[in-house]
């Protein structure tokens, strides 16, 4: 699924009342099935950008078009539904729910899209090399395993667009490569567009297309 950002601006209000601009993207596109690494420094607005794309945060202005649909003006319940069905998110800190097993966390990824399949969840965990660990809770899994569960969860609702926020920042080097490879290969296999934000040159070097999110006041990212 393609992604297009047009004149997207987002700023936050500081405690003193002054405006703090975070995003100012005049135009950005991601083609269907394409994989892009977006490099930016900490505090550079990478997470805010992903939040805006996923509909978790509404931009101050501009348009976010996903698969030809302008999601910016969709009412919140519709954006929630769209996110549940079409967008997968992998977080830097995994955000697995501690009360649920690996399998249940993956099932939870499907629950809100209303398309639960235990078989598919098991397949995904198998694909991530976690077949023997699916009934373990996050606290019983290693950091690398937790991130693989979170990748499986992001893929659970069969999304068309995958957003990954520093997915390898919290794992060791060996797991970094493994997770990145899994993410890229699975997205390629399932024809899922992938937008990965990172501050790591090592990670971005694994991508054919790399974009720089250099200046948070005047972010201009062009395809």
């Amino acid at each position: 699924m393609s992604l297009e950002l047009i004149d997207v601006r987002k700023s936050y209000r500081e405690p003193g009342g002054a405006e703090l601009p975070i995003l100012n993207i005049s135009h950005f596109t991601l083609e269907e099935g394409e994989q892009v690494a977006l490099i930016g420094q900490s505090g550079g607005g990478k997470t805010t950008l992903l939040n805006v794309i996923s509909g978790l945060t509404r931009p101050d202005s501009g348009r976010v078009i996903i698969g030809g649909l302008d999601v910016t003006d969709l009412p919140e319940p519709a954006r929630d539904r769209f996110r549940a069905e079409r967008i997968g998110i992998v977080f830097q800190t995994f955000h697995l729910l501690p009360a649920f097993t690996a399998l249940e966390n993956v099932l939870l990824g499907m629950a809100f899209a209303g398309k639960q399949s235990r078989k598919y969840a098991t397949e995904l965990l198998d694909l991530m090399g976690l077949k023997a660990r699916m009934n373990h809770k996050p606290g019983q899994l290693s950091v690398g395993e937790q991130q693989r569960v979170s990748v499986a969860r992001a893929l659970a609702s069969r999304p068309r667009l995958m957003l990954a926020d520093e997915p390898t920042a919290s794992v060791d080097l060996a797991n970094q490569e493994n997770i990145l490879k899994l993410l890229q290969e699975t997205c390629r296999e399932k024809n899922v567009s992938l937008l990965l934000v990172t501050h790591s040159q090592e990670v971005s070097s694994q991508f054919e297309r790399v974009e720089q999110l250099s200046d948070f006041n005047q972010i201009e990212v062009h395809a």
């Binding site: 997470t47 805010t48 939040n51 996923s54 978790l56 945060t57 919140e76 319940p77 929630d80 539904r81 996110r83 549940a84 069905e85 998110i89 977080f91 955000h95 729910l97 501690p98 009360a99 649920f100 249940e104 099932l107 939870l108 990824g109 629950a111 809100f112 899209a113 639960q116 969860r153 609702s157």
Partner: protein, 452 residues
Amino acid sequence: MNLVTIAFKSMKHRLVPSLLTSLSVALGVALMVAVLILNTVVTKMFQETGSGYDLVVGPQGSATQLILSTIYHIDNPIENLPWRYYQEWQEDPRVKYAIPFNMGDTTEVGNFPIVGTTPQYFITEYAPDKKFRVGKNENGLRGTWDAVIGSEVAKRNGWKQGTKFKMIHAGQDDHVHEEEFTVQGVLAPTGTPNDRTAFVHIDGFFMMSDHSKPVRDAIKMEAQFFRETEEQVTERHKKDIDEILRHEGESDDEHAHHNHGPTPDIQKEVTSILLVLEGTSLQRANRALIIQGELREGRRSQAANPVQIMARLITNLVGNIRLAFLYMTSLIIVVSGIGIFVSIYNSMSDRKREIAVMRALGARRTTVFSLILMESVLLCLLGGIFGLLFGHAIVFVAAPIIEARSGLLIESLAFTPVELIVIPILVVMASLVGFLPGLTAYQSDVAEGLQS
């Protein structure tokens, strides 16, 4: 995975706080259920027992004491009435049955109350459409020294048909009567004080030592009661009195060789008389009112309606205690509701991330709101169900203790329909206390939550 499963797993994850919260609800509900059951059972027992009789006639004094002693056997009898008075009631055309009652003594074993009465007592209904039954091949009060015992007396004392027992004279622990009664029948459980009573034939009761009134006192009492002269009374019972006075001069040895017949009427007394009146229920009620009025004017005795007296007692005393208990237990449930609110509300700050993750996965605001509400309802329901069971367990354990201490018979497995509204009330309360934390979840900022 549905909302209930998600809520249940979240609760399970916070097992200790969830259990403690549910426990507080459970305790409140258990107390409430126990109070409701005990109250219902006691009220029913008080209302039903004795409702088979239209009036209880007894000496002047407290009507409540008369009913409590005659019907419930939990108070001392007021005084005695002359046997002649009972005979007058027997001959009254308005009266279908007049049943004499003599009380005060207790069984030597187990200290159960003794009632001396006639076989007629077991013919009448002790409650609407409920009649006494004895076991197969067992009998009622046929002979002078026959006894019929309540089910609890049989159970506690291990007595059965053929068992002989003695009794203790009223208020004198060291005075055990020599005479023995033989159990002829064991009553089927009635759920009334009859279950813990031993009934003996009134003829035998009178023939026991110290149970027949000294003749001079009896003449005096009868004269006083009927407002006659002692001569008039003596003339009326001349034959009996002459016979008694003839034997007064005999030694104990001589006296023992006589074949004593039934106790002369002049020496007999009753502590109360149960009346079942003739006619339809409306006519009976009307006649009962007329008789009560007559006795009030006559000032010799009183007639009390057991149902009315108990209704008054329940409303004025038991009713207030019941209300106080219900208020207290309701308050406990409200406090536990506040406990749930505090518990869930406090957990919200820890759960910001959990809620944000669910929202990021596509959960709507209404979904997370419902989830919190569901959790509150589940906590209350679990507590409520456990409380219901626990409440019944309290009744089950307390029933024999209450019975042993007060004589009130409580059905261990009793159920009251009011319990059915406990769960819906809890669901409403849970929804109320879950609303604010749910609203917090509803309004939570996802981006901020993911950062937390």
